[in-house]
């Protein structure tokens, strides 16, 4: 009985590991290919980076007592072969491996900064307006409150495909094209609705005595909101923030159509334009760009996995 259960656990692990490796396989190939030159890739899709294997070979030679090593500076330009010491050889190897990355970062850096700026502004706006409005709907009484709340929520029903074209005509007429505002303002407008929904649900669930005792002490709405409600809402803020960062980070079409000026491109539209430009002929640069564009969210997730999972698991996501 016990052995059968152990076997079942092992089977589950094997199954999960198989699915996991299939899931991550493309990413491993991207990383591997980002370290290989065009001629290596054209020669064979499968294989380890030549520079890396040369590095291993040189290190092995050094262990055996060799002092000078042959290393080629740029394998695409070909001919130039240096006969140098270990440190210089390894530096050349490193330069060759980082080749795609240094070029890709040069192109992606402004896009990355734009994306981070837009993400921060969007999250700030969504959390601020979302929580303030939710607080008002949850804790203040005024005529028409219920109707207005439903009216705001009903905006969630409007699909983006309907408003894409008129939204473009609108921001064009407002003169917002080619700016950060053309992204931030519509993102905040759309994102705050779901935030209001989540925040209000959370605020409604806070015990009423908490507010009464604070009010007895003479706290006004602003103090209640700032000193009591906001600090308690950190899990909701985390979910709202991550949902909006993910949305902003991945939105491609809107930045693509509203920003013709390369200065304002974000990562998504920038990557696409990279793929359309002559840069794409250099495979390593493109693959390096995919890796680099994934790092910011990877860092975010390293910090935010726990609250994010708690938020998703809390049951906000069901119909």
């Amino acid at each position: 009985m016990k052995r059968a259960r152990r076997r079942r656990q092992v089977g589950l692990h094997l199954f999960l590991l198989a699915v996991l490796s299939l899931t991550l396989l493309p990413l491993l190939f991207v990383i591997n290919n980002s370290l290989r030159t065009n001629s290596e890739l054209n020669h064979s899709f499968f294989g380890v980076p030549k520079a890396a294997s040369e590095g291993v070979q040189i290190t092995a030679d050094r262990v055996e007592g060799k002092a000078r090593f042959d290393v080629s500076e740029s394998s695409d330009k070909g001919a130039k072969i240096d006969h140098v010491g270990y440190g210089a050889a390894m530096r050349t190897i490193g330069r060759r491996l980082a080749d795609g990355y240094s070029y890709a970062w040069e192109i992606l850096r402004p896009y990355t900064l734009n994306t981070i700026l837009v993400c921060l502004a969007t999250v700030l706006g969504v959390v601020a307006f979302g929580s303030i409005s939710a607080y008002i709907f949850s804790k203040c009484r005024f005529p028409g409150r219920g109707v207005l709340f439903i009216a705001i929520l009903s905006f969630m029903m409007i699909p983006g495909v309907l408003t894409l074209v008129p939204s473009f005509m609108l921001v064009k007429r407002l003169g917002l094209l080619n700016s950060h505002w053309v992204l931030i303002l519509p993102y905040v407008a759309g994102g705050q609705v779901f935030a209001i929904f989540l925040f209000k649900g959370f605020f409604d669930g806070l015990p009423g005595e908490l507010f009464e005792s604070a009010r007895m002490d003479g706290a006004g709405h602003f103090r209640l909101y700032w000193n009591l409600v906001l600090p308690l809402s950190r899990p909701v803020i985390a979910v709202v923030a991550i949902v909006n960062v993910l949305g902003t980070w991945n939105n491609f079409l809107w930045p693509f159509i509203t920003n013709s000026d390369a200065k304002y491109h974000v990562i998504s539209s920038g990557l696409y334009l990279m793929g359309q430009s002559t840069v794409s002929a250099n495979y390593a640069t493109m693959f390096a760009a995919y890796v680099l564009s994934s790092i910011p969210l990877l860092v975010l997730f390293l910090y935010a996995t726990k609250p994010f999972m708690a938020g998703v698991t809390s049951g906000a996501f069901k119909a």
Partner: protein, 286 residues
Amino acid sequence: MLTPTLALLAVFSLVPFLWAFATSFYDYEVGSDAHFVGLSNYSEYLHDPTLVVSLKNLLFLTVAGIVVVMTAPLIVAKSIFSLHSERARYLYRVLFLIPVVVPGVATLMIWQGMIYGDAGFLNELLRLVGRGDLTRGWLTDPRSVLWAIVFIGFPFAGGINILIYYAGLAGIPDSVHEAASLDGAKGLRKFLAIDVPLVLSQIKLLTILTVIGTIQGFEGMFILTRGGPGFKSMVPGLWMYMNAFTFQRMGYACAIGVLLFLLILGLTILNLKYFRSSEELTAEAA
């Protein structure tokens, strides 16, 4: 203090919403005057050469999307949930989340070039095993293009869907499992009879999101195929986009957008009316 919220909604949500309907009744090309044409944009779309193939593709992609979202992530979530070790369960959930950090555009471009490209993973793998005769431009061959689009993201296990199912499975009370075991339910039968009905609300949520997402979504087709070869992978959303931003026909594009909105609205109402969540089913049973 509600002013910022209401002002932003009015300008950036309400105005485009109303404007979409209004524009759909006009023949409006950028740079020239708008003429009122009544319903003729709508009747033109009913005779549009892309309409039939677009709807067929939409149906295919929607059905495929529903099948995918109802199987792979649920099976993986159930497998993770069945592990005894708490740490292993957490680790797997984190590892399956990794693909989320890759920008969507990058994922599409990786599949387009690295997997489906002429000298990409799939073709090279076929050559390696001696089936070079099967190689093709997966996204340019009319026979394979739709399947190639559907299979992007295989094995469909990365991402947030697993977490949503996992949360549903974790919400099933232990007493239910104990009672089922006492009744002799085991393995697959127990999974189908106990787990699946009790995560129905998650299945329902992900299905609705998939359907709405597929009807709206054309980013993938825009980046991968531009609807090609020919109109082989055209969808209504992409045709709307092309009419607006390639042919500058804003009125016609808005009419297509309105029709897609009505389709989504209709499906949402149907869903609210005819499909009940597991909570409601549980409440009725109690």
